[in-house]
């Protein structure tokens, strides 16, 4: 990196199925204002804005960025939009960090928003992300696609629906500590197993909700690090890996996500993640996706994911808590979701997590994944590693 970037502030809206009380620009304004307050900055301090939003037909407005740019504080400034599906927020964070590390900009705002509640069934929209000639005849949508991946991964990684339920219970419990979380309810393993089957093996409580909401993260150059806020979060590693849209080859879900994460590990000097990372904000909209990350991100040996789930490894108070925020399973404003992972990882590093704070966080990992998933293939994957100190 030409120079280092740090995160100096984050802002989020409350996530809910439908935010009747806010227009789309209002949501962006709220997240942006909160990030500016958190960083103790004014909008004039922002040099450039990177805006993230996923497929437009989720929200039902084309080129929504033009409707929303001013609410992101972009008036009279450089502005660009990023879209990599579910990874949009991760790519938005990377683009903002690249702005800073390039040396051209000192303070850059990453802000992302989605209103998934504006259309009655998001999966109908997501059916249209598939190849219209070769694939979309077959009723594909994201839940069905992840269900297929899961059917395969249960064989490859050796876990059951019971293990998936453990992950779901853990994430829902975590969300109770997060005031921004959409779903806030205590559920049991039995509740998950008895919830209606959506696409076998995924049941209702294995799946994320669809949410309205926005998230903002402010990146600054390293020379500003100590001047703006007492404890910034240092961007010690960042990476993205792209795969094709035609699914196939070997490996299961998480395999491509892992390639982005391992590149970021290398940049951050991490070779023993289980010893060197204290908290992970994983992009896992479905319980089965988090299962495979345990192995693919290097937290256990092959075929040990079930054992890790049983041991409470990823719970609050466990060895390495996964998604103290409740994660994507409890809030999913699609284009903003992976930026929420970065914001929550920064919150952990900065010690601002309140009831969801993991003690003594030195290094946190945030992941993102998006595109059209199939067996062993997701299109876009991102990773960012944040540290209390520069690595």
């Amino acid at each position: 990196m030409a120079r280092r970037a740090v995160i100096v502030g984050t802002g989020q809206t409350k996530y809910a199925t439908k935010r009747f009380d806010k227009s789309a620009p209002d949501l962006i304004y709220e997240a942006t204002s909160r990030a500016l307050d958190d960083a103790e900055l004014k909008v004039k301090d922002i040099d450039a804005v990177v805006f993230g939003m996923a497929p437009e037909s989720l929200d039902g407005i084309n080129s929504m960025d033009k409707w929303c740019a001013d609410a992101a504080g972009a008036w009279n400034k450089p502005f660009m939009r990023v879209n990599t599906g579910g990874a949009t927020g991760g790519s938005t964070a990377l683009a903002a960090a690249y702005h800073v590390t390039s040396g051209l900009f000192n303070v850059v705002l990453a802000v992302a928003m989605e209103r998934v509640g504006e259309t009655p069934d998001a999966q109908r929209v997501l059916n249209r992300i598939y190849d219209p000639i070769l694939a979309s005849d077959f009723a594909l949508n994201i839940i069905a696609a992840i269900a297929m991946e899961t059917s395969r991964n249960m064989e490859i990684y050796g876990f059951t629906e019971q293990h998936m339920a453990m992950i779901s219970v853990k994430n829902h419990l975590n969300a109770l500590n997060n005031p921004y979380a959409h779903l806030q309810m205590k559920i049991t393993i039995e509740d998950v197993l008895k919830s209606p089957i959506v696409c076998w093996p995924l049941k209702l409580f294995d799946c994320c909700p669809r949410s309205d909401g926005a998230c903002a993260v402010i990146f600054a150059s390293e020379d500003r690090a100590g001047k703006m806020v007492p404890i910034p979060a240092w961007v010690n590693g960042m990476a993205a890996v792209t795969d094709i849209t035609v699914p196939g080859e070997t490996g299961g879900a998480g395999w491509q996500a892992a390639r982005a994460v391992w590149k970021a590990y290398k940049m951050a000097g991490i070779d023993k993640p289980r010893q060197q990372i204290q908290v992970v904000e994983a992009y896992s909209p479905f319980s089965s996706m988090e299962m495979v990350l345990y192995e693919n991100l290097g937290f256990c040996k092959p075929k040990e994911v079930a054992k890790l789930a049983e041991s409470g490894f990823g719970e609050m108070g466990g060895e390495v808590p996964f998604t103290p925020s409740g994660g994507v399973m409890c809030s999913n404003p699609i284009g903003a979701t992976a930026l929420v992972r970065v914001a929550e990882a920064a919150i952990q590093v900065m010690g601002k997590g309140d009831k969801r704070q993991v003690p003594n966080v030195k290094t946190a990992l945030a992941t993102g994944a998006g595109g059209s998933p199939g067996p062993g293939s997701g299109s876009f994957n991102t990773a960012m590693i944040l540290g209390r100190e520069p690595s």
Partner: protein
């Protein structure tokens, strides 16, 4: 003025017609299905991967492979599946099975519906379907084929 605001929403709907261009490579593949009930794929001469559905280029070696065709048999394995029991708006009425299959000799997979399994009892049906099980393609009669992926069905072999 009261502080309580009545919150309004305005209705909207998208219904936009399109005609998606398949291009030379995928057209040749679909015409072969329609006219001859045969599956053809492209093979990269550098990495030897067989791409099915065919593409005109290999994304890894980044070379054109549009003239390098191979024929594949109408059989292969089921790589992944889901039994859908939930109704999604605008998508078919459940239950149905979606799967990814890999034809013999191919290196990539295609999605399709799995037919030929009795779905009247979803729990029983699910236990009959296994990742890795052999499948075969069954082509529609020639007069019913229209150059679409739906010109054939996929069922357990």
């Amino acid at each position: 003025m009261s502080n309580k605001v009545e919150l309004l929403s305005v209705p909207g709907e998208w219904s936009l017609p399109y005609s998606y261009s398949a291009g030379e490579t995928v057209s040749k593949f679909l015409v072969e299905i329609r006219d001859n009930a045969r599956i053809i794929a492209t093979k990269c001469p550098q990495c030897n991967r067989v791409l099915m559905p065919p593409r005109s280029y290999c994304e890894r070696c980044f070379v054109s492979i549009k003239d390098n065709w191979v024929e594949l048999p109408p059989k292969g394995t089921l790589e992944a599946f889901t039994l859908v029991t939930n109704k999604f708006e605008g998508l078919p009425d459940p239950p149905y099975v979606i799967c990814y299959i890999k034809l013999e000799g191919a290196d990539t997979t295609i999605p399709h519906f799995l037919t030929g399994v009795d779905l009247s009892d979803p729990e029983k049906a699910r236990q009959k379907i296994k990742v890795g099980m052999p499948i075969r393609l069954v082509f529609k009669d020639k007069k019913e084929r229209e150059g679409r992926m739906t010109d054939f069905r996929v069922e357990p072999a």
